[in-house]
């Protein structure tokens, strides 16, 4: 695998770690019932307290944490030469990209409020998507 590709997959792994930290933090806060997470931001409460922040009793952040961890794992293995796993990185990142677009739409047009943790996660996903595009360019 070319060195540039290895660097890109290492960057993908590092960025997914940042997303994993964000999602793990939100998941733990949600399960603990702690509400300080919003630090007095009404918009944050509107988003994290909305029906869109959970699927049943499970916080969406938990799915995010699992997705970021999957991307981290696939990207790490891809960087170490497991070429077949690159396809899984692609699938995972573009799936997250689609979900992120939906969540941004929900925040902007349904809830009319943005949550900083969600925006941070969206930024990470956009970065990941950018890197994936870069890895595919000749």
């Amino acid at each position: 695998m070319p060195r540039s590709q290895i660097v890109i997959y290492c960057l993908v792994a590092l960025i997914s770690l940042a997303g994993l930290a964000d999602a793990t933090y939100l998941t733990a806060q949600t399960f603990s019932g702690e509400t300080m997470v919003c630090g007095g931001s009404p918009d944050c409460f509107k988003v994290l307290g909305s029906q869109y922040s959970h699927i049943g009793r499970v916080p969406l952040a938990l799915f995010g944490a699992i997705a970021y961890f999957s991307i981290f794992s696939f990207a790490t293995l891809a960087a170490f030469g497991y070429a077949k796993l690159r396809r899984f990185v692609l699938i995972a990142v573009w799936s997250m990209f689609a979900v992120t677009l939906w969540l941004l739409y929900t925040q902007a047009f349904i809830l009319h409020a943005f949550c900083r943790y969600c925006l941070f996660s969206a930024a990470m996903v956009f970065l990941l998507a950018g890197l994936i595009v870069a890895s595919r360019s000749p």
């Binding site: 933090y25 733990a28 949600t30 019932g33 509400t35 994290l48 307290g49």
Partner: protein
């Protein structure tokens, strides 16, 4: 070795995420236990009373509060600290005493009572006081209360219905009437073992001294 390295890295990151999440969860989980509903003063209807702390505690602190009153908001955090520090020696009762001069005080009391109907009165109580400065000045107070309900994982549809229900309004009104009968005129008004605490003593230091005195009195009697 290189063959196993990525798996080792993945396993370490997985463990770190899981461990970090569990540690954060344990650190943030509320420490104060809500007293079982059956263990309350016989003069009260258990389902209507909001009690936190040990049922057999020697000291009972009863607060008449208005969620929008700034002094109540300022006292909320010291009171929570006192509750933690005194542990099994103290139980706390909260009763609503909303004033009409506070634009959203009644709605806040209804929100707390509606949360109480789903067993989360104290979570909403703490949240309303903590976020007082935000919702008190908000034009979308109902939206915020519903968001708070979502944050503490209530059934929001039921919460909205309960907030508008007669049951909740009657509960707030009955608290208020009880307070008026006891001579409550301002908030916060605090009783320690049924003795009214002077307004000048409504600070953490004086409250601790009053609780200490009440504990000593119980021990000596």
């Amino acid at each position: 070795m290189k063959r196993y390295l990525p798996f080792v890295i993945i396993a370490l990151v997985g463990l770190a995420a899981l461990g970090g999440g569990v540690m954060l969860y344990r650190a943030k989980r509320p420490e104060t236990a809500v007293t079982p509903k059956g263990a309350v003063a016989p003069t009260d209807h258990p389902e209507d009373l909001h009690v936190r702390g040990a049922a057999n505690a020697p000291v009972t602190l009863e607060e008449y509060g208005d969620f929008q009153c700034p002094p109540c908001g300022r006292l909320a955090e010291p009171l929570q600290q006192i509750e933690k520090d005194y542990g099994s020696h103290l139980r706390v009762i909260f009763r609503n005493f909303p004033f009409t001069i506070h634009e959203h005080a009644h709605e806040a009391a209804y929100a707390a009572e509606a949360a109480g109907l789903q067993g989360r009165f104290w979570e909403m109580h703490d949240l309303l006081y903590r976020e007082q400065a935000i919702w008190a000045n908000s034009k979308e107070v109902q939206t915020l209360f519903e968001a708070y309900a979502g944050m503490i994982q209530l059934d929001v549809a039921r919460f909205k219905k309960d907030m508008a229900s007669e049951r909740v309004r009657e509960k707030v009104e009955s608290d208020r009437k009880r307070g008026e009968a006891l001579g409550v005129k301002n908030t916060p008004t605090i009783f320690i073992n049924n003795e009214s605490v002077p307004a000048t003593s409504l600070n953490e230091t004086a409250l601790r001294a009053a609780i200490d005195a009440a504990v000593q009195e119980k021990k000596s009697s």
